[in-house]
Point group: C2
Chain length 638, copies 2
């Protein structure tokens, strides 16, 4: 079975990548751009910046203090290798296969005889191995190497990459094992890499080492830093932590590993702990987009209800990591709240980052951009995570390769199976050829232009002698969804809508999801969003761009009428609004409310999907729109 | 004349420190605590942490890479010396004088023969001189040394500190002069130090060097950094910049120096530029408290209208720097908007930082604290600027000594004179013994318990044969102020209320300022404050602390009725409010407004002055209070 995540047991089983294929649509086109543009784009940038040559320098003994890139640049090569491995298996493209061999060979030459593999530490002119566990990222890099090896192992079997990864994993187990150095890495990732590599190889030791790293964490194992040990989740043991905090990507990679270890060890206490953390973090520390990370300062979560739209960090990598956690939790529990969040994150974080041509990316994904970004040149490395424009590459460039490996394996997240049948979670044109226990075929073709329309047509592609259950996820937002089968149409509730039959080839089941644009209100405790409303369309969050306004200058003084009904248009929605004529004060804290200002004419405010913002040039942007005075009644409870 | 700032000309003249003395009250007591506790506290911490020994190590040739403290720790010693110098002149206390000599002697031993003086660069085991202009703070440190020397020179005349400062200034002029290294310091401060030292010594060269540093800036003279060159104001020349941006303390120290240079050079273009920057920054980038700096990431200004209360940085040092700028602008222009902002900043930033015993300080001064801080031990060095509790000392400890030098010289900012007479700007119990041109005495005693009450009694202390004008500042917030003189009471407008007479000793003028608590509303463009209202009392901003609530758990769901009238009570005010019974959502973005939630009983919400917050223990705190639904009408223009 080929899939990024294969727990030994759970409420649902992932389908193998060979059993699902995207045949077009919103995600199929993005997966194609990823294959034809992004993968080569990433390799060329890493060559150009010397991040690949860093491996050659270790092999050639020419390392020195002038090493380019951050201590984690090795991991970008490994994330690209992972993406290439999934992609090669998907299409069998020889160029992709050649790239894997090319990169693997260069990486392999840099491995020390004892299995240690890192281009930033432990060689001439470099700090000693493991001399900076807080910030050195050595084990973090290795974790991504193991994930790349998992992709290779499950799609092509043992090869050079798998073998060198095995030596690297053995080295880690020797150095950091029960009798070894009682350290952990400042950036979790080795844990999730070891757990999956252990599952793929049937190597208990690796899963056990992951557990050891997890249990060492949260006890002040790492040095304190000005940001505090919460930054790398070394403040509270993961079993005791009530919520995610600190650096978002760190917190989420750690949580993903915790689910893996909990499942493999039957450790329900640990699983419950991560579920509790997910619940509170999603209820109080997550953006409407599914984005996580409220602070630029530490790329981290804020306190409960601290969700500023303008300074939202919502790093693309945190979106990837959030999907990693929710997918593992779904497989373990079968609770669709997890696949609901995955859909939200896919459409509003993952889809937002890459440019249409797959050669530029958002790093941070704020919900409000005050000042249009400065267009970045195609050859410009952006030192800024917060440009307001997509950049070809970043000084800290974790996001592009993370998007690449996610899109290359996206079909792994569409559907699952259990003893009863098939569950479809994400709707895209695709073919699913699964096999249920006892060799029963569960084959369907999905046709849809979702999320533009809400009609999802599922056609049975093979006769099934015995009945099986087709379950279709009805998102939590989809009140009023309907299901048509055998000529009958019935309402279906959010959750899994089930159809159980002895299906015949050609049978059709159609799910109708209500994707008309709708208003969404923030909880009154989210101070930064008080008196505002957002518009969503199906799984897509919509936004306003200043360039789409008749008068872009009115962007800061626009208010909308929440009693009007958002109107669907092909490129998004229209909502009734007006701009206020606000005086320019010398002091912005007057003795009375600005109640007397004149409002302009009401007009149709154009909204587009958030994932499209800044595709038409730099712009001010906002998702949450201030509501006009009459509309304010009721925005806070009476 | 002894005063921190003595321009060669301007619309108003500062009074000498010898001409004004605080005799008690709000500021007199704080100045006393500063003298008896804070100064010794600062010296003992710098001794304990080795920041003073750093000077001995340079003198003894025992420097090395193990130097404790940041590159700017020297400046803390200099800021303490400046504070001690003002304090020694104020009281003539021999212990204070002894401390100055003690510290001066240790500093003097560390000066290189060519005048270079720095404990972090240029000696054995250290990076070379001026090898990191962006972050090395060498010239920044020297700037503070010069300000300390100014204090000494103007209060005691030339002494060892003045002589070594002169050598240091000459060194800077040699190295960075017109024919020298065309560099600038990443942290402005040398400019304001050189300008004032030049004025104090009548050394044109120093003022000219300050001008040179100013004009070199804003042209990409410094290396770019991930935060961008705006961080240290090297992005746009100061004459062209429309607004303050980047690191707030850097921006404001630079602006203060620009006013000095503009005044000394009669450079009206430069003066207008700083006035423009002040206007827009105060109108769009300043907090109700007068605090400046919206972002933790770079301790910097945000974009226009970006003023989050919870993540407000509002560094104490930025408050000090803001007063430096506004005071210089007032002296140059005589516009009371500058002294208005000084009052706001004094009561709500400067007074907020130190603990009652003068041995703990706030570094950041947010307007909303979500989670109570962890009490810091008296011996604990806080690595965090954002603790929510006052800390005895900080890893980056710029604020305590900045507060110390400000409080030690606070009486310099109370009043000014011009050819017509005396202007009183800040109201505190004090004696003013000024002399107008032609030797005319202008002597008054001020009695008041302002800001607790609004009655300010000014008693003439000496007969004046010829008439002169007593001008009293009426703050912009003081609508309805009255003035009583010669038995008659008349309304006075915000601005300067003038009384011109041939005063006789014993004459009394009484200003009545309306200090009843009042609602203050945010501009609708400040997104983070939408739907909220604050309460002010005279110059004090009030706040709510969770520990003062009957049910602290209701802090996050409290709303107030803005149509009620805030009621004055001795310790602050009471305003009508209630807590909402809000459901705990699994997802905080519902399809409808939270309009149905039950509200609890209305009760009197206790508010206290913001400068008192966290004095009674850690607490959640907020200045801007969400308004109840009915009250929301009018908070955004209809």
């Amino acid at each position: 079975m080929t899939s990024p995540v294969l727990p030994s047991h759970g409420r649902a089983r992932p389908l193998g990548l060979a059993q699902v294929s995207l045949t077009g649509g919103f995600w199929g086109s993005r997966q194609a751009v990823n294959a034809t543009a992004t993968l080569a784009h990433c390799e060329s940038w890493m060559e150009r910046l010397g991040w690949l040559a860093n491996f050659d320098r270790v092999a050639d003994g020419t390392t020195g203090p002038d090493r380019p890139g951050w201590s984690f640049s090795d991991s970008e090569v490994y994330k690209l290798l992972e993406a290439l491995a999934w992609e090669s298996a998907r299409t069998g493209d020889p160029g992709t296969e050649a790239a894997i061999k090319r990169l693997t060979a260069r990486v392999a030459r840099a491995q020390d005889p004892d299995g240690y593999l890192n281009t930033c530490f432990g060689h001439a002119g470099q700090p000693p191995r493991y001399s900076d566990l807080e910030m050195g990222h050595e084990l973090y890099n290795t974790g991504h190497l193991l994930q790349a090896a998992v992709a290779r192992l499950r799609t092509r079997g043992e090869d050079d990459l798998v073998r060198l990864a095995r030596r690297a994993a053995d080295h880690v187990c020797r150095v950091f094992g029960p009798d070894g150095l009682a350290g952990i890495c400042g950036h979790p990732e080795i844990e999730v890499g070891l757990a999956e590599f252990g599952r793929a190889l049937g190597e208990e030791r690796y899963v056990e080492q992951a557990r050891l790293f997890l249990d060492r964490r949260g006890r002040g194992t790492l040095r304190d830093i000005p940001l505090g040990r919460a930054y790398f989740q070394d403040d509270v043991p993961i079993r005791e932590a009530p919520v995610w905090r600190g650096h978002a990507v760190r917190a989420l990679y750690l949580a993903a590993a915790a689910v893996d270890v909990a499942v493999e060890r039957g450790d329900d206490e640990l699983l419950r702990a991560v579920e509790r953390q997910w619940e509170r973090s999603v209820a109080r520390r997550t953006y409407l987009t599914g984005g996580m990370g409220s602070r630029h300062q530490d790329e981290g979560f804020g306190e409960d209800w601290e969700l500023p739209p303008d300074r939202a960090y919502c790093e693309t990598c945190a979106g990837v990591a959030s999907i990693m956690v929710s997918w593992r939790l779904y497989l373990a529990t079968g609770d669709v709240r997890y696949t609901d969040l995955i859909e939200r994150t896919l459409y509003n974080v993952i889809a937002t980052s890459p440019s249409a041509d797959g050669r530029a990316f958002f790093y941070a994904n704020p919900l409000h951009q005050r000042v249009p970004g400065r267009p970045a040149g195609p050859d410009e490395v952006s030192p800024r995570a917060e440009a307001g424009v997509r950049a070809a590459w970043f000084d800290v460039s974790c996001c592009p390769t993370n998007v690449a490996r996610t899109l290359a394996s996206l079909h792994a997240y569409l559907a699952t199976s259990d003893d009863e049948g098939l569950q479809i979670h994400q709707y895209a044109p695709c073919e699913i050829r699964a096999e249920l226990p006892g060799g029963r075929p569960a084959a369907v073709d999905v046709e849809t232009d979702y999320p533009v329309s809400g009609a999802v047509r599922v056609r049975i592609a093979a006769d099934a002698p015995a009945p099986w259950t087709l379950a279709l996820r009805v998102p939590a937002w989809a009140a009023g969804a309907m299901l048509t089968e055998g000529g009958r149409t019935r309402p279906v509730e959010p959750g899994l809508a089930r159809v159980r039959r002895a299906f015949r080839a050609g049978d059709e089941i159609v799910l109708h999801l209500p994707v008309e644009p709708r208003f969404t209100w923030p909880d009154p405790r989210i101070d930064a969003l008080r008196g505002c409303v957002a518009v969503e369309r199906g799984p897509e969050v919509l936004c306003l761009e200043s360039r789409d306004l008749p008068d872009p200058g009115g962007f800061d003084s626009l208010v909308v009428d929440p009693r009007s009904v958002p109107r669907a248009v092909p490129d998004g929605a229209r909502v009734r609004g007006r701009t206020l004529a606000l005086a320019d004060p010398s002091w912005p804290y007057p003795a009375g409310p600005a109640g007397a200002a004149e409002g302009g004419e009401w007009f149709d405010v154009p909204l587009r999907p958030y994932h499209e913002w800044a595709r038409h040039g730099p712009s001010s942007m906002r998702i949450f729109l201030p509501v006009a005075p009459d509309g304010l009644e009721g925005t806070v409870a009476r």
